[in-house]
Symmetry: C2
Subunit: 320 residues, 2 copies
């Protein structure tokens, strides 16, 4: 059986793995899919453990995600939040009523002694998800944003409360947990590893920062999907972070440069093929995912580029 | 300033203290009201600390309670519960979305190191409640039901999951916390203590079981409102518990007998004046509370019976 591993942050990565899981279901042979999700954005809110990226991937794979909003569940309500406001409680982070069930059951599981990996697998399984959804670590590893004018902020504080406005000086990770038990074995067994079209600094780097992950990846075929399209980030603060952190313009080539020798190839938007250095293979296609059909098509391109036999995918492969 | 203390369980007690707070606002002089609430029914659900009686009193005093259902909030929704079901989580206890805000903020407060008294005062204050709402204890004291056929059950297990059907052999309290800091001082300073029309075994006895409470009450003027009307409990399992636990029929006199020498007087439904023993003063009036007007009228009767000058209350007093 072939094995594919995807590294993912939130919305972009989630949409991509949705396409990936559908593409693999239609593949010529059985393929095992493991999604390793960034937990650097995890935080405690209302005393509950919230895993934003993990939940976005889970809801997206279960076809429960709110498509336009990019976070939370479709058909969501906010009655608890409204009552929390009445109690003068924290209301800067919007947790929906249905979404709350996830945080409540996760927190209950963790307090009972389950690991984050175990809780995540249990919840994803209950929603009928067949891919292995794996948090990058069971222990805390928190993404911290060093800003120019506001000091150091936790990721959610910077991203949600301050709307990602404060200029970023550096991104750091606090806490040094081992990767979750499934992470290294999954990477070591992978025929293909894909970095989803997620923010490299705050979504993929937290995973890469964990001990042993870069070493495990070094022996694998790794393809990234560029989150930069035509010089802009599809979503989120990446378009300004690249110049703030590197001084270079936000291009697909800057993404490849960031990942360096880890990458065998990168999939970019048509027109973004310029500026690449070194031996990285570049494949250009339509990468913007506006629909599930787009995600499926992109996933097929990536799989074919990665050497998989994918029905209906018309593309070239980096492996002969 | 005069001081009144009420001991309360859930719905009946909550309705009574609602009337009491309104009656005292209209009293001839400023009166301080402290409501000591049973926490023997408290339990953990979904990893959250739920205080059913405390919440019923709080919601009722804030005019937010669901009038017919007898628990929870008016205009409630159950989106979180529906999602918990989808995760195959516990769904035997119905927590509404707005109600959840209370349990979430309470649990968060407790985990941060606030006492139950502090959290309760903070939440009640945020809802605009002027009475002092005091949980009977900050530490756990759990009401356990010894049943004939099902062994020993926690109160919620017996009451909600088993619908109070298993025959009761005995009621016990597990845990031996001191009363909450405000309990004994409030009783010792009280000009009048009222036991609301609550179940004596599972709502008032937990409070009386705490060290020092009976001794403090011994020096006070204590009036009970009978929860038995015409040989039946208005609500809940008391009608069957009295014969199961004492062999005697469920009467107002059985309530007075249960409290014994603690009581100076008891307020009963008209027609329930029979069978009393000893020196307890009995006052009969309409005690069934179908509306807020009923609660207010009953509270005025009780206050006047307790020696307060209450405008518009036409009744006799046990104190000259």
């Amino acid at each position: 059986m072939k094995k594919v591993v995807a590294l993912s942050g939130g919305v972009g990565g989630a949409r991509f793995v949705h396409g990936l899981s559908r593409a693999l279901e239609a593949a010529a042979e059985t393929v095992d899919l493991t999604v390793i999700v960034n937990t650097g954005d995890d935080f405690e809110h209302w005393g509950l453990h919230v895993s934003p990226d993990s939940d976005t991937v889970m809801y997206t794979l279960a076809d429960l995600a709110h498509e336009e909003r990019g976070w939370g569940l479709a058909e969501e309500s906010f009655a608890t939040l409204e009552m929390v406001r009445r109690y003068a409680g924290d209301d800067w982070f919007q947790l929906g009523d249905r979404d709350l069930a996830t945080h409540i059951l996760r927190t209950q599981g963790l307090r009972r002694g389950e690991t984050l990996s175990q809780v995540t697998a249990r919840l994803a399984g209950a929603l009928g998800i067949r891919a292995h959804l794996v948090p990058m670590a069971d222990g805390p590893c928190r993404t911290m944003i060093d800003t120019r004018d506001r000091g150091t902020l936790s990721f959610q504080d910077w991203f949600v409360r301050h709307r990602a406005a404060p200029e970023v000086r550096a991104v750091r990770f606090e806490g040094d947990p081992p990767p979750a038990p499934a992470v290294i074995p999954a990477i070591e067994a992978a025929d293909l590893v894909v970095f989803g079209p997620s923010n490299p600094y705050v979504s993929i780097d937290p995973i890469l920062s964990l001990p042993g992950v870069r070493a495990a990846l070094a022996g694998r075929k790794v393809i990234a999907v560029s989150p930069i399209v035509g010089g802009r980030a599809i979503k989120g603060p990446l378009g300004t972070m690249i110049p703030e952190l590197t001084g270079a313009p936000p291009t697909a080539a800057a993404i490849a440069r960031h990942y360096g020798s880890l990458l065998a190839g990168i999939v970019v938007e048509r027109g973004d093929e310029g500026g690449f250095e070194g031996p990285v293979a570049v494949h250009a296609c339509d990468t913007v995912m506006r629909s599930r059909a787009d995600s499926l098509r992109l996933a097929r391109e990536v799989l074919a580029f990665g050497g998989f036999e994918v029905p209906d995918a018309i593309t070239r492969s980096i492996t002969p």
